[in-house]
């Protein structure tokens, strides 16, 4: 079964493209959220396997959301995305508990798959 996926980004156009892309590559996109609060709410409701999480959201940073979601065990794994380069964020990515970072323009099922790696079996539960 395809991993259930939640896409969190404040840009509608990106959410739409990411959904099309990921669905085309076998992910089951179960929901979208446009800010931190609705992301937490959606995670509580959906318990997705994977969260594609934008770093910069209107109400809080992706790092803080990631920590909260993981601490409360609401989601499986988190992949951070941003249109900026990873080097702009330094070690924050690692500290947040996310499995990795993908520049938005490099987002693909394959890239996601690589990051999720061995955990894929979890994601497909």
């Amino acid at each position: 079964m395809a991993p259930t996926t939640l896409i969190v980004d404040d840009h509608r156009l990106f959410r739409t493209s990411a959904r099309l892309l990921l669905e085309a590559e076998g992910y089951d996109v179960v929901g979208e959220a446009e800010d931190g609060a609705s992301a937490v709410a959606a995670a509580e409701r959906l318990h997705p396997d994977v969260v594609v999480l934008d770093v910069q959201l209107p109400d809080m940073t992706g790092f803080d959301i990631a920590r909260e979601l993981l601490e409360r065990r609401l989601v499986g794994r988190i992949v951070l995305v941003s249109s900026r380069h990873a080097s702009e964020y330094g070690e924050q990515v690692g500290d947040s508990g996310a499995v990795g970072f993908i520049a938005k323009d490099e987002l693909s099922g394959a890239a996601l798959h690589t990051l999720l790696g061995s955990g894929d079996s979890d994601a497909t539960q």
Binding site: L13, F14, L20, Q56, E88, D105
Partner: protein, 709 residues
Amino acid sequence: MRLSDRTLRRLAWAVVAWFVAAMGIGSLVLWGHNTDADGTADDVGSVLFGLMVTLFPVVGLLIIRQQPRNRIGWLLLAIGFAWGMSAALELYVEWALVLHPGSLPGGYVVQTVASSSWLPPIMLMGVYLILLFPDGRLPSPRWRPLAVLAAAVIVVGTLSFTFAPGPVEGEVPVPGVENPIGVGLLDPVSEILTGVSLVLIPVCILGAAWALVRRFRRSRGVERLQLKWLASAGALIAVLLSLSFLASIPPVADEIGESAMRVVDTVSILSFGLIPIAIGIAVTRHGLYGIDVIISRALVVGMLGVFITGVYVGIVVGVGRAIGERQPSVALSVVATAIVAVAFQPVRERVHSVANRLVYGTRTTPYEVLSDFASRMAGTYTASELLPQLARVVGEGVGAVRVEVWWRSGVRWQRQACWPATDEPESADAAVGAAGDVPPLPGDRVVPVRHQDDLLGLITVTKAAGEPVTPSDDRMLAAVASQAGLVLRNVRLIDDLRSSRERLVTTQDDERRRLERNLHDGAQQSLVSVALLTRMAAARASDEHLRASLTEAAAQLQLAIEELRELARGIHPAILTERGLGPALTSLAERSAVPVEVQNDLSQRLPEAVERTLYFVVAEALTNVAKYADASSATVSVTCEGGRVLLEVVDDGAGGADATRGSGLRGLADRLAVVDGSLHVDSPPGEGTRLSCTVPLTSAPSASLEPVS
């Protein structure tokens, strides 16, 4: 019974009339008959003495006209009355015994009384006037015994002189006539009583002088000013009396001759007239003249006089005697004159500073205040340095306990500096007023500082309780304020410039951040989404050509996104805002064409303006390293010590960078100046380049003064 002011004034007039009549008629009648003990006529001396004494009742009258119940005024009049009485008695004696013998009765009785008539006025002048000045009361009850003793001396002295048995003594030589009212019983004690009285006179005078010193020491305010007048007159008299004494010692007297001695004597007698004059000024118009200046000048003149006389007498007389010359030697006179001429200037300066210290104490003299102020202002340009200095200069100059400098910003007044420095916040707001009005602030004086008609600031001066602001204080404040007006105007302009540059840089930084944010949120997001969709479309396209086109489009989009990302980062690095200077520098180093090592010792975030400035300094420096230095590696180090951030960018390249050329480094220096930082470039040819800058962390970027509205 309480006399009316009018009656009191009439009484004062009557006393003066009595004095003038007695003295005047006496002088006219006795002209040509006055003889000294040695028989020489001394008409001029007695007339001068009369004129000097006249000043006492006259000043008394002037005081009583203004203040009919002034005790010192009445004391002066009493002195006049007593001298008048003495003159009248002498006139009677001369008339009855010398001019028209037998025409008036009781000549010898009156002569006996007259022989001690100098005692009351002398004691009034020498003891009571000094003891009771300036308020007509004893300094404290502890001085009552002195007053009683002086009264006893007057009474006992007068009685023992008057009733002593034996030959009549007095001005008129009448040998062999027994005192007609002599009391035989007094015979054994009268001489003792007379002797004791004579000894007690100087004792009482010295006691009164000591009382004056004590009173002066603990005096405050107006009383202190009044005492200064009397004290300075006293000091001058003391100097003149010393000169007179010096002139009277035999070798000196021989040298300077009879007439010179007379002049010195006359001047020193006349100088007693300074006492009533000083008292008159002290009582009626002490607020009008700067006594401090007068005293200090009088001291200088007096001490110089003593110096010159001393040198001259010492050399011409002393040395002359030693080498056995009888007549004053011309050579010695020349030597003395030469020594005085050579030593005059240094001695004058020394005497001047001694006089100033005596008068002003640890206070700076007004002249020093002004020149000190001018030289300080020359090297100071920021309000945060200048205003406290202004407060200090004024405080030390006028001996204030507190000085505040207020600054006008718009229609509000703000306290910008305080002296002495206190823990309370430097700034405080004061009442709003119309822009040109001086607001009611606490203080003995509120001095406006203006430039042309523009009211820039205020200096408030508070002196110790009871300590008045003297006329010379006022003149000094006015002088400082007028100098400060021009200087503060310049400071305000410089401050305006500073803060406008600060605003420009801040605005520019904010603008850059906004631009980066817009690029990131707008164009970049759209491009990213389009790139994703294009790539997906390419993956799905079954048509070979279509797929190739879409793949190419996706690749071009990818390039555009990369370029845009770099552009945005150059405009403003998000990592700097989010993660601080250290991570931002690391990120910068990672993308540098030349290998860069970052040594970051900062443990905390720095003020935003400082972080931005240092980041751009490093960005510019690394760009230069990559472009021009031909370096193989570079090091960026940041440390924080002693409230300052030190940043260095060092490369091992060709060196020879010129800080004055090119707009890059100049721009960095300007940016650094906004945060009070400094930039230093050390770049000897062939030895690499070391760019270092320092930024203080405590800097509240200058006491920012609002521009003049």
